[in-house]
């Protein structure tokens, strides 16, 4: 009982000078979105757990010299949050540039061209050239699944696919292998996707992949994306709240 009561305690804070009320325990990103304040985010996916990896959603909190990933930082009474300083813009730009340079993101020959969240962010943040050298990784394409395709060369390791496959579909087909810059998204025990026995072919992973790494074969990328997603995430969330 006590926990329920505490979780729903309301608190006050400001975001970019605007006074807002929020539920204690909610993240800064969630509260900002509820109040129509836009904080860019990339690895964040509504309806599944937060990861905190891309660092695009950074904000400042008055009184602290540090920056915080808003998708994993809970709000607190009296917090004064800044979502858009020069410093934050600089950091976000670095995050996006580094992701673009980590693997060969050549948009013009990518299935996701035009419907890619990374590309959109780059445009929003004014990333018009890369200050660091591109890496030309040469991972093999996985086309073994009858409906979906996986191109590791476009993956930004946001783990959205892993989280949705585990937490919503409940099968945990996908995971990460190795560490650091060698990290790689894999299916089952590093099988080819088409041979991953636990996969139910539900398509959730490809629907939430922000880039052109997972996609539905033979369908324009934009159409295979999150349109259906909204519905299954919300239904699952209402189940959770009721249950």
């Amino acid at each position: 009982m006590a926990e329920v009561w505490e979780a729903s305690k309301m608190i006050e804070l400001t975001i970019d000078g605007k006074k807002v009320t929020a539920k204690e325990g909610d993240t800064i990103l969630k509260v900002a979105r509820e109040n129509n304040i836009y904080i860019p985010a990339l690895c964040y996916l509504e309806g599944v757990s937060s990861f905190g990896g891309c660092r695009v959603c950074l904000v400042e909190i008055k009184g602290s010299p540090r920056v915080f990933a808003s998708c994993v930082t809970p709000v607190a009474e009296g917090m004064e949050i800044i979502t858009n300083s020069e410093r934050l813009k600089r950091y976000r730009k670095w995050a996006v540039e580094l992701l673009l340079s980590e693997r060969p993101h050549v948009c013009s020959v990518c299935v996701a061209n035009g419907s890619c969240e990374l590309q959109q962010l780059a445009t929003d943040l004014g990333v018009d050239h890369l200050r660091v050298e591109r890496e030309w990784t040469n991972y093999e394409l996985d086309l073994t699944h009858e409906r979906f395709a996986y191109d590791p060369n476009r993956c930004i390791l946001c783990t959205r696919c892993i989280r949705i496959c585990d937490e919503i579909e409940g099968v945990h087909t996908i995971d990460l292998m190795l560490r650091g810059k060698n990290s790689k998204v894999i299916f089952d025990l590093n099988d080819k996707w088409g041979f991953a026995e636990s996969c139910t072919s539900c398509g959730k992973c490809s629907a939430v992949c922000p880039v052109g790494a997972l996609y539905v074969k033979g369908k324009p990328h934009s159409e295979s994306k999150r349109k259906e997603l909204a519905s299954f995430v919300t239904s699952r969330r209402s189940e959770k709240t009721i249950g």
């Binding site: 990896g53 891309c54 600089r90 995050a95 580094l98 650091g180 810059k181």
Partner: protein, 550 residues
């Protein structure tokens, strides 16, 4: 075990110890073992028999004496005569001369008094002087008395207060006040609570925690038990890296010994307090020593850090309040309880009390494991204890804090060693590595080397660390091969700022330190590389181009 039993056992052991006129401590720790320490040990045992002095001379197998550069090392009490590079033959001669004839063999003694003069051994109080595999040895020197005192004469809050007043700060790197951390865990709701001793020590070249565990495992166990009593925990884990087989073995046996004496388990000293410890082996990644990664690893998941809050104190192992302390932090606890917080607070510097163990390595004449009072200057450590750089070479820099520690130049040698001063200068306390560089090292190349280490050790979760460090490495690598321009230096600084500020955990947050400090204190070397393609140490431009070369 009953309280009285501890007292009588201690008395009996102390008397037994006194009944010998001499005690020969043979170091059989990881540093001396490869040089034949075990053979030396049996040579001493044979020799005392041969000369018929077994009755007055006890031969003990001990942990590290702290002078690993003279392995195998042997310490004879009374008088703390330290013999260097002992062989089985020399062992025989030492027994004959020192024990039988009462004349220490001068030519075999380690004549370096300066090495010990400025050291102060609190954490390593027993290292090299007790047999780590005999719990009785530990009890003979006052072991488990602090636990007895805590359980029978102090409240948990009283213990926390004492630790808080001592000013002890965590020795695992960040220097968080130990008493305060304990208070958070004590006040957190949820049960059971857990205590974790961090012995991951992933920094290359750092071996202070390993040495402690190999030399005095019960100091860690006793510290953990006291911590558990203070915060209300009933279960503890020691998280130790699997690359430390001897430490693992020693700890395992020590835990069993403590259990069989009733110093771990149910109703310790006939009080209501029950506590037990399990060992957990880490897989060896550097980042696995970060506290939230340890939680994940003990729970059986991938050792990846997660954002805090929630802090482990609120939500740690399986969501329960968990205290995580470094093993050196914990080994301080028994002494603090026995000698008092006031005594502890009088040692070291004002805002930084006590001592710190360091692995002193690199280009120094006397490398080894040292323990010094906080506030000692780098100059004292490098030149007095360490004996300076090898003959004919010039001191260039000292790195404090392990692979992500900063490099400090000659003009900062009078900096006192404390958390604040080090951080201000761009270095960190880290978990206890001090590496000395002389003029044979190139600072650009060195920065590149440590950046590469962190690239390999990044868990890959967050972008600044995973991608940023790699790009940084590529740029530094370019400098050592004659690529890059002066504008790149500014880019490097910006990139470093991003990595430092935006990374999720301490690995990324500190990894730019080697680059940032070398840029700050040795910028001319970068400029020489870029503009003149010149490396004063002759390390770079090996594959064509550039001047220099050895």
């Amino acid at each position: 075990m009953k309280p009285d039993e501890l007292r009588s056992l201690a008395q009996k052991e102390a008397e037994a110890r006194k009944s010998y006129r001499y005690r020969i401590n043979v170091c059989c720790s990881s540093g001396c073992m490869p040089f034949g320490a075990l053979k030396v040990l049996s040579a001493f045992k044979d020799a005392v028999k041969e000369f018929g002095v077994e009755g007055e001379c006890y031969v003990a197998r001990t942990g590290c004496i702290g002078t690993c550069s003279i392995a195998p090392a042997v310490l004879i009490e009374p008088g703390d005569y330290l013999y260097q590079n002992v062989t089985p033959d020399r062992a025989k001669e030492i027994v004959k001369e020192h024990i039988v004839n009462g004349r220490p063999v001068k030519s075999m003694l380690y004549g370096n008094e300066a090495y010990f003069k400025k050291q102060l051994r609190i954490v390593l109080r027993n290292a090299g002087k007790i047999d780590p595999l005999r719990i009785e040895d530990y009890i003979a020197v006052g072991g488990y008395y602090a636990l007895l005192k805590a359980l029978t004469r102090m409240t948990p809050e009283g213990v926390i207060e004492e630790v808080a007043l001592s000013g002890l700060k965590g020795r695992g790197g960040a220097g968080f006040l130990t008493g305060l951390k304990w208070r958070y865990v004590a006040r957190a709701t949820g049960s059971p609570k857990y205590v974790i001793a961090n012995l991951d020590e992933g920094d290359p070249g750092v071996f202070a925690n390993r040495t402690l565990a190999e030399a005095d495992p019960h100091a860690i166990i006793e510290g953990m038990a006291i911590a558990a009593y203070a915060v209300g925990a009933s279960k503890g884990y020691i998280y130790v890296r699997s690359e430390y087989p001897l430490a693992v073995e020693t700890l395992k046996k020590a835990i069993e010994a403590a259990r069989s004496m009733g110093l771990l388990g149910e109703k310790i000293f006939e009080t209501a307090f029950s506590f037990d410890i399990e060992l957990r082996l880490g897989a060896g990644a550097f980042v696995a020593g970060e506290e939230t990664a340890i939680l994940a690893s003990i729970e059986g998941r991938r050792a990846m850090p997660r954002p805090r809050p929630p802090y482990p104190a609120q939500s740690g192992l399986w969501g329960k309040p968990t205290l995580i302390n470094n093993v050196e932090t914990l080994a301080n606890i028994p002494v603090i309880l026995l000698k008092g917080s006031e005594w502890f607070a009088s040692i070291g510097a004002k805002n930084c009390t006590g001592t710190k163990c360091f692995s002193l390595t690199g280009k120094v004449n006397n490398p080894g494991l040292i323990e010094v009072p906080m506030g000692i200057t780098l100059r004292e450590v490098v030149f007095e204890i360490g004996g300076g750089v090898p003959p004919g070479r010039r001191f260039k820099a000292v790195q404090v804090g392990g692979p992500s520690g900063g490099f400090l130049p000659e003009q900062l040698l009078d900096l006192p060693i404390d958390y604040e001063s080090l951080t201000k200068a761009g270095a960190i306390m880290g978990s206890g590595g001090i590496v000395v560089l002389d003029d044979t090292s190139c600072m650009v190349d060195t920065a590149k080397f440590f950046t590469e280490f962190c690239v390999d050790e990044s868990c890959g979760k967050c972008v600044p660390c995973r991608v940023g460090l790699y790009k940084l490495y590529k740029i530094l690598d370019g400098f050592t091969r004659g690529e890059g321009s002066l504008e790149d230096l500014q880019k490097v600084e910006e990139l470093c700022e991003f990595i430092k500020e935006a990374s999720l955990c301490g690995l990324g947050q500190t990894a730019p330190n080697p680059t940032l400090t070398t840029l700050r204190y040795f910028r001319d070397e970068y400029v020489a590389h870029i503009l003149e393609k010149k490396c004063s140490a002759g390390k770079c431009f090996k594959n064509g181009g550039g001047v220099g070369g050895e």
